[in-house]
């Protein structure tokens, strides 16, 4: 079994975890990462929910695990084509490098929703409208949150469901992790700027995980964060760069207007650009949301519709960090199982 070679596409936490586990099982593993370093989206993340832990620690531990287990990692290589070559697969990358593998694990992750598509929210037009990803980047880089005028915001609005559950942008699914991220960021803001009013505009608060609801209670009780049930309709910049936002307080059934210093859009997860690239060229199919389609949503979630090609992590559907790592591990068992009962 140990002369089998697995190619793992995508060096995010799913890819790294799967690669290291497979390698430790004695398989030859090549990890192909399109960027200069592994870690994927977590590299520019500041704190993780629900325990505000540091993603750097997680990425470093995964990186060392991958290195120690003898995984051959290839950087700056983006796979554009998977061809079936007999019983094996031929992977063609951008600089027409070639990789041959007995099984392929697609862990190409997700794309952050491009908030400029929601033009009426003014992302890309108004300096003080940022996304949750921008927020994490800024906090990681400067450790503080300033308006573009350089002042401390006195009032911040956090908008839920931007690019998710929205037919207008073609993503009708729920990205699952934005609600709790919003609450986490709201708490971070109010801890950093105690006299800053924070409002969360939501349709439904989907706090599915353990400790999520207690974080919500803590946000309300200790940090005085106000939750308004109503979807943001439009944002407009005022002369002093503050943003006037309009929504409906649906619990009262009345429109509401408010001027805030900053707007944070909780952008959802979209199917990764690379998966779409892989899809056009060969037979991998996608589900109605554009994520990779599992052979069976219950018992073969990591198997794609193509025998020998597997998937892990947010390439399948929106997932939190802990779910992604678990999903990666379940993918490795599928692969090992696949090798075992395949007669040479």
């Amino acid at each position: 079994m140990n002369n089998k070679h697995v190619a793992v596409i995508g060096g995010g936490i799913a890819g790294m975890e799967a690669a290291s586990v497979l390698a430790r099982q004695g398989l030859k593993v090549t990890l192909i990462e399109k960027q200069a370093n592994t870690g994927g989206k977590l590299n520019d993340w500041d704190h993780l929910f629900p325990d505000f832990s540091s993603p750097e620690v997680l990425v470093n531990s995964l990186a060392t695990k991958t290195k120690d287990s003898g995984v051959n990692t290839v950087y700056n290589t983006e796979i554009s084509r998977i061809e079936r070559a007999g019983k094996r697969f031929e992977l063609r990358a951008n600089q027409d490098a070639r990789f041959y593998a007995d099984a392929v694990l697609v862990a190409s992750g997700f794309n952050v929703f491009d908030a400029t598509i929601k033009e009426e929210y003014g992302y890309g037009l108004f300096g003080n409208v940022i996304t949750s990803v921008d927020f994490e980047k800024r906090m990681k880089k400067h450790g503080q949150l300033h308006t573009i005028q350089g002042t401390d915001p006195k009032r911040v609005a956090i908008i839920h469901c931007v690019g998710s559950r929205d037919a207008k942008v073609g993503n009708t699914y729920c990205s699952k992790v934005c609600c709790i991220t919003g609450i986490k960021q709201a708490i971070e803001i109010s801890e950093m700027l105690p006299d800053c009013e924070v409002f969360c505009f939501y349709m439904d608060l989907r706090l599915y995980g353990s400790k999520f609801d207690s974080l919500y209670l803590q946000a309300q009780k200790r940090h005085k964060i106000q939750f308004i049930r109503g979807r943001l309709s439009e944002a407009a910049e005022r002369a002093d760069k503050s943003i006037q936002i309009k929504a409906e307080d649906t619990l009262q059934g009345r429109p509401l207007r408010m001027t805030v210093d900053m707007v944070i859009l909780l952008v959802g997860m979209e199917p990764g650009a690379s998966t779409s690239q892989l899809i056009q060229k060969n037979q991998m199919t996608v589900d109605e949301n554009g994520f990779l389609k599992s052979a069976n949503v219950h018992c073969a979630r990591n198997q794609s519709t193509q025998e020998g090609i597997f998937m892990a992590g947010t390439a399948i559907c929106p997932m939190a960090v802990n779910e992604t790592i678990e999903n990666a591990r379940s993918a490795t068992t599928e692969i090992i199982h696949f090798f075992e009962n395949r007669r040479p």
Partner: protein
């Protein structure tokens, strides 16, 4: 086709919305409201096109209302509306014109609606052809290009700027005039791709302002409806809805102290002008300017910049809000005494007072 020339800060997403505007040989379709409330505007629009831009535009005396007011007030059924529009087009084909120049925003919306209905449902086109034939014995061709008057002014704004003796600059301070714009809803909100710059950040008026030296001020309620909406003002007890909408806009633009409001729709022009007076009477509050913010349409502003006479040519005395402060800022020569003297020099009467509140000085 003119290349997209985006000068101002809004830089993205507009490439898809840059519509095609015809170059010459326009068939003018008048606006019921504009020719009744500001007749000068239409006269001066034709004069600009013919005399200043050397374009050929034909004002056919036989064309009628597009019946948009009736259609939007649920009095005129859609079929009749299509036949009326078809009749206008048949007049055009008779005269051999292919490009429409529409004066009214509502009819512009209506024509677009009819044209796209015909494109989507060809059987509607056939039915309209039969109706028109039955009713008037006329046939018609679908025009090649449908542009609104403001599109045309926008397209030739540079040529107008070149010939313009005045600039939208405050004579004393040298500062560009702060001008807020209001785009008629039916211009780009029904068919975003039919408006210059789409529905969110429409460029058609801001383009003119900046071309003529002014500063286009973006205020939060810029996209809010002016409240004109036929159903809202036709019936008396709906009018509070109409005035409340305007009020929200005035509240929002007040902090910017705009020198004037630029509109492209006759209805918005009239209501943003009159409702300032009504609000002042009810609430005693003036939202800007000495005694109200002057409201001009795109033709009037173009004519003003080109040096037409404010009273005799453009007919600005029809406005409720005083335009004199604006004229003084730009430095336009005008004779205050001639404001209410008719073409033959006779006194044509005047309202009890102009502006928002009766002057006590």
């Amino acid at each position: 086709m003119n290349e997209p020339d985006m000068e101002t800060k809004t830089k993205i997403r507009w490439s898809e919305y840059n519509k095609e505007i015809a170059n010459d040989k326009f068939f003018y379709l008048r606006s019921c409201i504009r020719q009744n409330f500001n007749p000068g505007a239409e006269k001066v629009f034709l004069s600009i096109l013919q005399n200043k831009l050397g374009k050929e535009v034909y004002d056919d005396p036989h064309h009628t209302t597009c019946s948009g007011i009736g259609y939007h007030s649920d009095i005129v059924p859609f079929e009749t509306f299509q036949t009326m529009v078809a009749r206008q087009f048949s007049l055009m084909t008779e005269r051999g014109y292919k490009n429409c120049a529409v004066s009214c925003i509502t009819s512009f919306g209506g024509y677009n609606e009819v044209l796209s209905t015909w494109k989507e449902f060809p059987e509607e086109l056939e039915k309209t052809r039969e109706n028109l034939l039955k009713a008037t014995g006329r046939t018609f061709e679908i025009p090649e290009n449908l542009s609104h008057a403001c599109d045309i002014i926008y397209k030739f704004r540079k040529e107008i700027a070149a010939q313009a003796p005045y600039r939208l600059i405050n004579k004393e301070t040298g500062e560009p005039l702060k001008i807020v714009d209001h785009i008629g809803c039916h211009y780009a909100k029904i068919f975003p791709e039919k408006g210059v710059g789409g529905s969110e950040y429409s460029r058609v008026l801001t383009g003119m302002i900046e071309a003529w030296g002014g500063e286009a001020v973006d205020y939060p309620e810029r996209r809010h409806c002016c409240g004109f909406g036929f159903r809202h003002y036709l019936i008396k007890n709906n009018r509070s809805y109409s005035i409340s909408a305007s009020r929200k806009k005035f509240e929002s633009m007040q902090p910017y102290q705009p020198d004037m409001i630029l509109t492209n729709c006759p209805g918005c022009n009239m209501f943003l002008d009159r409702w300032q007076y009504a609000l002042a009477q009810i609430e005693g509050k003036v939202y800007g300017g000495k005694n109200g913010i002057p409201v001009l349409s795109h033709e009037e502003l173009a004519a003003l910049v080109l040096g037409y006479d404010p009273w005799k040519d453009i007919g600005l005395q029809m406005h409720q809000m005083d335009v004199e402060p604006l004229l003084d800022k730009i430095g336009v020569e005008y004779d205050p005494k001639l404001k209410f003297t008719g073409v033959k020099g006779q006194y044509i009467n005047e309202p009890e007072f102009t502006g928002c509140l009766a002057r006590t000085d």
